[in-house]
């Protein structure tokens, strides 16, 4: 930097002049030497770079640079937004909008809606019930057969015919509330419901011990909700005569979406295809 440039710089920045003066002499010399380095661009560098920038600016949509959306795209976005608002605001239109979105998404991302394989083994399972009660029996809990009176443990002895009862849900209203609480809110709002058929092993004390899903709803979260909820229910146990016994029992849980947040129908299927032991 020549003396004139130095003078101009110091005049414009008096604090810099003071700073230079405050440096020790040997550092002042180094400061002058560094300031004297002349860095000049190659003359054609500026125009070349400006050309590159121009090309990048002209190609900005491909390069990811922003450009105002064209009218067509904005109109389409406005229509879609209106449809979404209508879908949210009008309950009767909600299911239609959900179906539309689902159809569009299915077209775009088929893998997102690939059928979920139903679990062969129940997601929630307690220990396999041990045959603690021998009054009622079946060849296998997994393949139930209609209940039959057991032969007496002592062959030849007279076996009285007993009256059987199957498990019943205690406090049905509370049970509905429990199951409703497990109904996924997102599915309720989306108007998605379904039925889940479940087998329960109900112990002689009325507590469900083993849960198996026999038929799913097609939605993994609904299946899980039904099984989690059933685990919390309490039952009046099956009886043989006057004695409480453990038994398998089948329930179908219907999740029905509604404006009030979901209604649930509980449908015990106690007498068909159920075996006790």
């Amino acid at each position: 930097m020549d003396r004139k440039a130095q003078y101009m710089l110091d005049r414009d920045n008096p604090s810099d002049a003071e700073f230079r003066a405050s440096l020790p002499e040997e550092l002042q010399a180094l400061d002058r030497e560094l300031s004297a380095i002349r860095i000049e661009e190659r003359p054609s560098f500026g125009p070349e770079l400006e050309g590159e920038l121009l090309r990048a600016w002209e190609a900005r949509p491909r390069a990811g640079l922003r450009r105002p959306a064209p009218w067509g795209r904005m109109l389409l976005a406005a229509c879609f937004g209106g449809l979404m608002v209508a879908g949210v605001a009008v309950p009767s239109a909600r299911a239609a909008v959900i179906r539309l979105v689902r159809t569009v998404l299915e077209e775009a991302v088929p893998s997102l809606f690939a059928p979920v394989p139903e679990p062969e083994v129940p997601q929630i399972r307690f220990e396999e019930p041990t045959p603690v009660v021998s009054e009622m029996t079946t060849p296998s809990p997994a393949i139930p057969v209609p209940a039959e009176p057991l032969p007496s443990e002592n062959p030849g002895e007279f076996t009285p015919i007993h009256h059987y009862t199957f498990p019943e849900i205690l406090y049905p209203e509370e049970a509905k509330a429990i199951i409703t609480s497990y109904y996924p809110l997102g599915l309720q709002k989306a108007g998605i419901g379904g039925s889940v058929r479940i087998w329960l092993w109900v112990r002689p004390d009325g507590v469900p011990e083993s849960i198996q899903m026999r038929e799913g709803s097609g939605y993994r979260s609904l299946n899980l909700a039904a099984m989690m909820a059933m685990r919390e229910l309490r039952f009046r146990p099956a009886t043989r005569g006057d004695t409480p016994v453990g038994t398998w029992v089948e329930f179908t849980v219907h999740f029905v979406p509604s404006d009030t947040g979901g209604v649930l129908e509980l449908e015990p299927v106690g007498s068909e295809g159920i075996g006790g032991r």
């Binding site: 920045n13 405050s22 440096l23 380095i37 000049e40 190659r42 400006e50 600016w57």
Partner: protein, 199 residues
């Protein structure tokens, strides 16, 4: 007519008459006004003119892409561009460290000793410059940074303070210390030692 204000100047853009301006008006002004400063800063920190040109190009490309994110309330355009330049230089040096040496040799500095009257003086100046730049490169990054802003980009202490978001006094102290370390590094290089200085 649509107008925009850039650095106190009002720029008119006639809607409908002229095709889209080649570059955004603000950016075109900044490019012309601050490109030399950015280039000089980058050149001071990098060993070759080619590297400096590459990094300067990268700085303005990045700035163009990030133009809509620039906030005039947070920094002046010059400070913003120099911030991008500092990051770009850091990235470049990091990649160089993995690949090759940062050592400056005589054949890499001819563009820095232009306008020297005699050939003999030119050779002497080149040698001295080589020594200074190599000494600068063994300083710690913060020292290199502040010396490059002051003697490369030619910023005043106040401008450096704005760029680094520190006080004027802090800049004065840092430059003073960096100069002292540079002097020490020059003397070490003369003595043949090239170990980094970490005072």
């Amino acid at each position: 007519m649509r107008t925009r204000t850039v650095e106190g100047k009002t720029i008119g853009v006639q809607a409908g008459h002229v095709a889209e301006p080649p570059l955004p008006p603000d950016f075109a002004d900044w490019f012309r006004e601050y490109r030399p400063t950015v280039y000089k800063y980058v050149r001071f920190r990098l060993a070759t003119r080619e590297a400096a040109e590459d990094v300067t190009s990268e700085v303005f490309m990045k700035a163009l892409r990030a133009l809509d994110r620039y906030d005039p309330d947070r920094a002046s355009p010059k400070t913003w561009l120099l911030r991008i330049a500092r990051n770009a230089v850091t990235d470049h040096l990091r990649s160089l460290r993995r690949r090759s040496s940062l050592h400056v040799s005589l054949d890499r500095v001819p563009d820095l000793v232009a306008e020297v009257p005699t050939q003999e003086e030119r050779v002497l100046r080149e040698e001295r410059l080589e020594l200074l730049l190599n000494a600068n490169r063994v300083l710690r990054p913060a020292d290199q940074e502040i010396l490059s802003l002051r003697y490369g980009a030619g910023l005043s202490n106040q401008e450096i303070a704005e760029a680094l978001n520190v006080s004027n006094n802090a800049v004065a102290v840092r430059v003073h210390r960096a100069l002292a370390r540079l002097k020490e590094a020059v003397e070490r290089q003369r003595g043949g030692s090239e170990s980094p200085i970490h005072a």
